[in-house]
Subunit: 170 residues, 2 copies
DNA sequence: GAGCTTACGTCAGCGTTATTGACTTTCCAA
DNA sequence: TTGGAAAGTCAATAACGCTGACGTAAGCTC
């Protein structure tokens, strides 16, 4: 952080990490890293007729089995029509199962089939491998900082979705 | 590796931050944070006929003035045709200036016009505001960790582009 | 029970961003 | 002078997002 322009001042905090140049580098780091982040699963998806949207749907259905369409809509932040197109192909291909709600029959609860779980595994294995390697190289403290900054960067509603999933999976 | 079945071993490092659950949370954090990351400039762009691709082009032309088309192609990781469509509109709208190379007349060097710089400012102000707030909330150590992890997540070539730009701007 | 709302699905149309493939012009360099 | 690199363009295609509109089933409320 301190980049050679003198020791931290009497404010008790060195604010050099908030310069425009530092912020630009943060922006560029996000851009380049996100490309790496999606690269591995993307490679798997091109061979099928699927794209990133399918991956996201599969990820969150696996993460929160039995979730309703409306709930998924909120998490993914897309329109009903966009999600439905993806969901339709996933159901037709036998990767996702849609089940009418017991208490509220208007709702459809979404689950992965065995085939869906298999694809989820393949995709997230690829993505986790990179994440694991990055985490290991960076070390636990860097990972904690990484998470802290990302959480601070989310929109409040997204932060809620994130926290809910986190508590769910823990 | 150690996945939560006991205290840290004699390796001297607690590897609990590498469990699958931790990695999943990292993946989800990236997903939700990237949405926030792009949300503010996106809001500005919808009012014009532009999209995220225009933003990226403008950002990197501003960052490395005089860059060639080929160089930009490498940084953005898109095809010539994709970039060209974006570039054409930006030049037609007077935001970007394309200048034939002096030593090599095949090359076109790209610069922002005054109007282009103004838009770049507006876009990056919006994006930096969120980044600054996230950085400040998280603190310098978290920011350092954030950057370390993101760098470890990049593809090697992307890391080179990132480093070159970093040295350029510093 | 009537009427409003909610959850879901779907049709049609559109825009942005990306792709591949093929072709041309210009121009540097061996 | 010839090969190849840099750039620009045309055409076709696909993934993914959007809006608007419509229909059905079902829950809820008065």
């Amino acid at each position: 952080m301190a980049d050679g322009r003198g020791p931290s001042s009497h404010t008790g905090e060195n604010l050099l990490f908030l310069t425009d140049e530092q912020l630009r580098q943060g922006i560029e780091a996000m851009f380049f890293a996100y490309r790496g982040f999606t690269a591995d699963p993307d490679k798997i998806l091109v061979d099928m007729a699927y794209g990133r949207a399918h991956h996201r749907a599969i990820h969150f259905i696996n993460r929160a089995p039995g979730t309703t369409v409306n709930n998924l809509l909120g998490i993914l932040g897309v329109t009903k029509q966009s999600l439905n197109r993806v969901l339709r192909t996933l159901i037709a291909d036998g990767l996702v199962k849609s089940q009418v709600g017991k208490t509220d029959k208007r709702e459809r609860h979404l689950y992965l089939t065995d085939a869906g779980r298999a694809l989820e595994q393949a995709l997230s294995d690829a993505q986790r491998m990179r994440m694991r390697s990055a985490f290991r190289d960076a070390g636990p403290e860097a990972v904690a900082g990484f998470r802290t900054v990302l959480e601070a960067m989310m929109d409040p509603e997204m932060h809620h979705s994130y926290t809910r999933l986190k508590e769910n999976g823990a």
